[in-house]
Symmetry: C2
Amino acid sequence: MEQAGNETSSGQANRIAFDDFAKVEMKIGRILSADMVEGSEKLLKLSVDFGEDSPRQVVSGIAKQFVVIGKSVQEGDEGDAEQESEIETKTISGLVGHSFVFVTNLEPRKILGLESQAMIVAGTGDAGLALMSPTIDLPPGTSLS
Amino acid sequence: MEQAGNETSSGQANRIAFDDFAKVEMKIGRILSADMVEGSEKLLKLSVDFGEDSPRQVVSGIAKQFVVIGKSVQEGDEGDAEQESEIETKTISGLVGHSFVFVTNLEPRKILGLESQAMIVAGTGDAGLALMSPTIDLPPGTSLS
């Protein structure tokens, strides 16, 4: 089937055929680890299990939503209050151990020198960025359609 | 970019370019109503809000996971036990009011004579069929990428 190229009854100009959609491989991936990318405030480096021989590396600009910045007070020797110093802590929350939707057959791309081997599917609203998670547990690598 | 057509370093033969993925329109839809389709055990007819002027009708084979079959006892007149009869009840649970991922620019298709104007994204594992829901609330019609 070809795209019509003009608007249809429901006013949509960008129609695709089912075969176009079928070319896109979407799978459930379980995040094994998540780390900040050096030199970036936005990027996280994820290790993701797709039920393959080894996990894939995924680099994604989702840090803002999942990195919690806190402060830790480091005490000086013998509890000397004047020697206390505050240290900024960054904790990644809500990712490791969770399963989300990824596109798994895009050409790998390099981001800040790191190869990203899949893309996490996300959407943004007033409340921030959301990832897509299955309503019941699905094994890593489960295909979506 | 063209598809390579042969296996790459990570052994994947079915690579697509980002432009191929970008043609697929995925959006958050909020289910306004869900009803059994007459003459089918599998199909549900959904009314789905995509933030457009009017909701779309979506026909989807997800009944098994979301229809709860129960029994209701109908009493005879004056509580006569011999007049009691069991009636099978079907309740659709877990869909109305919830938001899920849909593909919204496929050609509409007719299923049992009903036009389906989007496709709900789903995956199946041992525990059954799962739909994909955003980790935080996103407005109907939010585009995913």
